[in-house]
Amino acid sequence: MIFDYLRDPAHWQGDDGISSLLATHLGYTMGALLVAAVLGIPLGLLIGRTRAGWRIAQVLNDVARPIPALVLLVIAVLLFAASILPVIAALALIALPGVVAATARGVSGVNKPAVTAARALGMSGFAMLRSIVAPLAMPSMVFGLRRAAVQIAAAAALAAVAGAGGLGRLIVAGNAARSYSEMFAGAILIAALALLLYAVLGLLGYSARRRSRQSGSGEMRGIGSLHVG
């Protein structure tokens, strides 16, 4: 049966067991998401302030769209090694344009009178960023991170093609061994991880939207760009 591989406790143990592959996959995903957020959010906050900057972010995101994750992973592994840092760097690079563009879109959508009023009240640049711009841009930022998380969790499956482990390993090895139940185990776990991240960041986005009191219209506009993994 197709669930056999998943149900057999022996397959969860050892260096190539499901537990270890899952841990690697999670490590890649969380590491790359963190790097993409730490680099992408400040960059988006910075360039989203001008109309030209926002445009540039959108164009870069469009240009990056057809570049396959696989090619970045392969290049990273060839240049460095099939180890954790090159893989995380490649995965973060895949998600970066989306995070920057979503953050910049959020900043560019901030209500101008709110900014003017804050300035008139004598708010400094940092205080304004902290209490006006960031909260209002938050829904779009979280949306960008949600997209990035799903994208990275899916792309991390390709690390196995480059010999760097992760849940994709079950699919590659299962395909080589003609074991459909092993491939199925990989497929289910990768999907579960992506959907878990999608749901968690969705809840975060919901609370951010409530806090910024900008009702759900942005959700629909942005979600088309979720086609990533």
Binding site: P66, P68, V71, V74, A160, M183, F184, H227
Partner: protein, 219 residues
């Protein structure tokens, strides 16, 4: 880093076969997605309240990684794993989900005043859909198609995980032989494909909605 043109010359038949496969697998599912998403999107748009629930489901399906769909699809349509039909169907499902959002965005962008004017002029629901709403929504819908095609061009390479063709093969080949030539050839072909596809859809967009100006970064 030097490109090995001899390798390119020797492997031209394989390269062109993989390119053709890549083009078909990226474009056809996007077109299927467009055709299926227009009626589905209109339906979800019309039922508003319940539509939100359906839309949440559509969003969740769109978030399923292609790898997972690729592995499960053969089970559903009873085909071999690396079968082009199974890969195409997987991409078509994901493309449809995304296109539904673009169709709804397009329909929502039609100003209420325009719709009410048409109503006041005695336009029925069907006539309004075909002569007012759809023409005005065409811009965002085709813009969405452009982004889905671009994404598909990248996503097709994921099929190497189930041992299928497409230009993704050139990347795994380059990795196996530690050679940059196949990788660069694959990357350049993918970029050319993406640019040409984008240009063609832009031309169609210009042809069917001459009143819309498309600037870079907009869709």
């Amino acid at each position: 880093m030097k490109l090995d043109w001899g390798w390119v010359n020797d492997n031209l038949p394989m390269i062109s076969r993989l390119t053709a496969e890549h083009v078909l697998l990226a474009l056809l599912p996007a077109v299927v997605g467009l055709i299926v998403a227009v009626p589905l999107g209109y339906l979800i748009f019309r039922i508003r309240g319940a539509g939100r629930v359906v839309l949440a489901l559509v969003g969740a399906i769109a978030a399923i990684p292609l790898v997972s769909v690729l592995v499960v699809m053969p089970l559903i349509i009873n085909r071999p794993l690396f079968d082009p039909l199974s890969i195409g169907a997987s991409l078509a499902i994901l493309s449809t989900m995304i296109m539904i959002f673009h169709v709804i965005t397009g329909l929502s962008s039609v100003p209420g005043s325009v719709n009410r004017s048409a109503l006041a002029l005695g336009y029925g629901r069907v006539r309004r859909l075909f002569t007012v709403e759809l023409p005005l929504a065409t811009g965002p819908i085709l813009g969405g198609l452009r982004s889905v095609v671009a994404s598909n061009i990248a996503l097709v390479t994921v099929a190497v995980l189930v041992g299928s063709g497409s230009l993704g093969r050139l990347f795994t080949l380059g990795l196996r032989e530690s050679s940059v030539t196949p990788i660069m050839v694959g990357l350049v072909l993918i970029i050319v494909l993406a640019v040409v596809a984008d240009l063609i859809i832009r031309l169609i967009q210009r042809g069917v909605t001459p009143w819309v100006k498309v600037r870079p970064g907009e869709r």
